[in-house]
């Protein structure tokens, strides 16, 4: 098996790192790059920055934050929130991001997925999916940081997104996000069996052991961690060690 990636997720509002529950009730944690640098030094494999209000205000203000991070952080960075054109993507990539994550604008205009994939390569185009379980037992795609329903079925949508060139899926369970109750295993399993691109499971990691479940039972390729790290309930080094001793492949990392 390929190495599982341990990713720190930073949700941003204005200049601040924030954390909510079900993507709502946001609490200000502090300056994003202080957390980013801490996670880099703990051995995070990647960082994901999401501007949580960008769709609402029609802009993304992460460029400056990412540009500053690129000075002393040398791991891949994915940036999302409010990216609605090739120009927006170009701007964010020029400022040090390696991949862009797109949700709302892709739902409104799926052509954007192929445009980004063709211009920058599939590896650069992360389809961000906010999923919420319906009473029928399937999952519906939400946009605008979990605020708006789209009417789209998650499984159909990820298949379509991958056919258009999405190279990776950032799969956030709105139901589990911020609850510390573990990942939405049926959701991650359904998505990872529907498409062949890597899946980043996001939302619900309460204890390091949740990582083992989502990888072993639902075939996640990576996990995005926020609450568990921001509140110091664990750290990347300990999580890596637990993964390793439980037989999961993770990268060799020696703390400097």
């Amino acid at each position: 098996m390929n190495n599982i990636r341990l990713i720190a997720r930073l949700d941003i509002k204005g200049p601040n790192l924030i954390k909510g529950i079900h993507l709502e009730g946001l609490r200000v944690m502090g300056l994003p790059n202080e957390y980013a640098l801490k996670y880099y030094l703990q051995g995070a494999d990647e960082l994901i920055y999401i501007d949580s209000v960008a769709s609402l205000y029609g802009r993304n203000n992460l460029s400056d934050i990412v540009k500053a991070a690129a000075k002393d952080i040398f791991i891949p960075m994915t940036v999302g929130g409010g990216i609605r054109s090739i120009d927006d993507a170009t701007e964010i990539l020029r400022n040090g991001a390696d991949k862009v994550a797109v949700n709302t604008a892709a739902v409104k205009n799926p052509q954007l997925i192929s445009d980004i994939a063709q211009t920058f390569g599939c590896q650069c185009m992360v389809l961000s999916v906010e999923a919420k379980e319906t009473i029928k037992g399937n999952w519906e795609v939400y946009t605008d940081n979990g605020r708006e329903r789209s009417g789209k079925d998650v499984i159909e949508w990820v298949k379509y997104g991958v056919s258009l060139g999405a190279g990776e899926i950032l799969l956030t369970s709105v139901d589990k996000e911020g609850t510390r109750k573990g990942f939405d295993i049926p959701l991650v399993k359904a998505v990872s069996s529907a498409v062949d691109v890597p899946i980043i499971a996001s939302g619900g990691m309460g204890v390091p052991e949740d990582l083992l479940t989502v990888v072993n039972e639902a075939n996640a390729d990576a996990v995005a961690m926020a609450d568990i790290l921001h509140y110091n309930r664990s750290n990347v080094g300990d999580i890596r060690l637990i993964a390793k001793t439980s037989g999961l492949g993770v990268r060799n990392y020696e703390q400097v």
């Binding site: 390929n2 690129a70 040398f74 062949d196 990576a222």
Partner: protein
């Protein structure tokens, strides 16, 4: 041009800022340029790259950089190709039909197999951290990997892989789905990294530091 300057070829692809910041972290001044004359007189040159092989070659041709890179190899100027920039060093690539490369290191670029060696389906692109190992346990002493150890991990993101004709040009490889993939290749003063040293934490920074110091 001062010894402490590195030229990064800017031909409109990829995340150049991170390459620049990685090199600056190593204490050198970075000059981003597509000017053939500036590149020709450089002490050290980095060829970055993300995107498609044929497009990149066309752009380099149109900018008059292809001949310059051949000239640099004759001059013995240290050249570091990163990701697609590494693949361009070879003779040709099978990406979207056959396209000619720079021909500075003999060999070909082919697709990563979509099955593991145990015949399971495997994900393409290959995205993630993999350990570097020396083929035949050869020493890394005289290479850019000299301060790194076998097993150190670097960040890869690619769908194609380089296969040098002469296996002596393989400095490091990694395993993906059981397949050996060239991770670092080298010939005289030319080195190519399939992974991104500027995105591989301290392991990658060591490589950049060695490149800036040699």
């Amino acid at each position: 041009m001062s010894k402490s300057e590195v030229v990064v070829i800017d031909y409109g692809v990829g995340n150049l800022l991170s390459v620049q910041r990685g090199l600056e972290h190593c204490g050198v001044k970075v000059i981003l340029t597509s000017d053939p004359e500036v590149i020709l007189t450089a002490n050290r040159v980095v060829l970055p790259g993300v995107g498609a092989f044929a497009n990149a070659m066309d752009t380099l041709k149109n900018l008059g950089i292809v001949e310059v890179l051949t000239e640099l190899s004759k001059l013995g100027t240290p050249l570091l190709g990163i990701c697609l920039g590494m693949q361009l060093l070879l003779d040709e690539s099978e990406e979207f039909g056959l396209s000619a490369g720079l021909g500075l290191i003999p060999g070909r670029v082919i697709s990563i197999p979509n099955q593991t060696t145990s015949s399971k389906k495997q994900k393409i692109p290959h995205i993630g951290w993999n350990s570097l190992n020396s083929p035949h346990s050869k020493s890394w002493d005289n290479t850019l990997l000299k301060n790194n150890q076998s097993g150190d991990a670097a960040y890869f993101v690619h769908s194609f892989m380089a296969v040098p004709l002469d296996t002596n040009h393989n400095i490091a490889e990694c395993l993906y789905g059981g397949h050996k993939i060239a991770a670092v290749i080298g010939h005289n003063q030319i080195t190519g990294c399939q992974f991104h040293p500027e995105k591989s934490g301290e392991v990658g920074l060591k490589i950049l530091r060695n490149f800036c110091a040699n």
